[in-house]
């Protein structure tokens, strides 16, 4: 029994590592002095998790970057392709993608493993802060790219440009380190984005997945889809003794007995590992 419960957590780590490597497997891009990013046909497709398409190793497009690009294009149409992709991914897996397939999620989890005091955000503040990611999605990813126009009539990818720490970490830092010709272009924007990145990474040591909880617009989108997603968790009421071990084990502070389809649940399976009765399991909606 103990062995089985351990295996889900380990399996998730293996899947996270493999999916992170698979999404960023263009080794040539990481060679020093090589300014090229991957330009092959796989870039027609979006990756399921947050993954900057300017990362030297990225083999696919970032869904949030692609959505902003579709919305701020001069000759824009309704973004059928990207939105259809996002809805399909959300309906199939919901925030399972955050828990199992996101490289930045894995990094946050590893940083949280660093020993030290862990911050307990007061419940009320935590509840309010969790709405910020929906605001980020509506304002920075959809609203401003859709309505703001610069002098030339084009829009800007506001989320990528001013907030996204994933782009700085996966794209900005390696490209600047590998390519000296980009260094003269560094200015206040890069310094601002480095500050956001450092604040984000440092806060990960004290708070479990703070970017996912409070800022990630992709997590917000998938959270919307959680109630109808095909991957779900089921609590067997006959086996459950209401001991509360599941709620105590959840890093996202979700009680799966009360809210199995919560928009905050990243389907990490920690509750399943912890449940002494094995009353919680993954299910596919039929």
């Amino acid at each position: 029994m103990g062995k089985k419960s351990l295996s889900l957590g380990r399996l998730r780590k293996v899947v996270q590592i493999i999916s992170g490597i698979a999404a960023n497997g263009y080794i040539k891009g990481f060679l020093p002095g090589n300014p090229m990013i991957y330009e092959g046909p796989l870039k027609h497709f979006c990756l399921p998790g947050m993954n900057c398409y300017s990362c030297p190793g990225a083999l696919g497009a970032c869904p949030i970057g692609a959505l902003q690009a579709a919305l701020n294009a001069r000759d824009r149409d309704f973004p059928f392709y990207v939105l259809g992709y996002l809805i399909a991914a959300g309906v199939i897996a919901g925030r399972f993608i955050c828990g199992w397939l996101c490289l930045f999620g894995l990094l946050q989890e590893l940083l949280y493993k660093i020993p030290g005091p862990k911050l307990k955000i007061p419940e009320k503040a935590d509840r309010v802060l969790r709405y910020v990611k929906y605001l980020v999605l509506l304002v920075l990813v959809i609203g401003l790219p859709l309505f703001y126009r610069d002098g030339s009539g084009g829009g800007l990818p506001f989320f990528c440009q001013y907030l996204c720490p994933v782009g700085t970490l996966e794209g900005g830092v390696p490209l600047v380190l590998l390519n000296s010709t980009l260094r003269p272009a560094l200015g206040w924007l890069f310094r601002w984005k480095m500050l956001v990145l450092i604040l984000c990474l440092v806060s990960c040591i004290f708070i479990y997945r703070p970017f996912c909880k409070y800022l990630c617009p992709l997590g917000a989108f998938y959270g919307f889809m959680q109630k109808i997603s095909l991957v779900r968790i089921r609590v067997d009421e006959d086996s459950c003794t209401n001991c509360g071990a599941c709620a105590g084990a959840c890093g996202m502070k979700v009680d799966p007995r009360k809210f199995p389809d919560s928009a905050e649940c990243i389907r990490c399976g920690a509750c399943m590992d912890k449940c002494p009765e094995k009353a919680i399991s993954f299910r596919i909606r039929r």
């Binding site: 696919g60 497009a61 970057g65 939105l83 309906v91 782009g167 700085t168 900005g172 272009a185």
Partner: protein, 48 residues
């Protein structure tokens, strides 16, 4: 009953999303994603 309905709703939305994706790809939107994704996005990485 409710589960059956929500299950059908999920599969229906998934089918609609796949159709959206295929229609978008046929309209050249996959090519737009590709063109954006193969260029280093200076603003995205903070170099704009």
């Amino acid at each position: 009953m409710r589960n059956k309905f929500s299950g059908r709703l999920s599969w229906g939305i998934l089918a609609a999303a796949v159709c959206m994706c295929l229609y978008g790809a046929a309209a050249g939107q996959a090519e737009d994603v590709f063109i954006k994704a193969i260029r280093i996005c200076m603003e995205c990485i903070g170099l704009g």
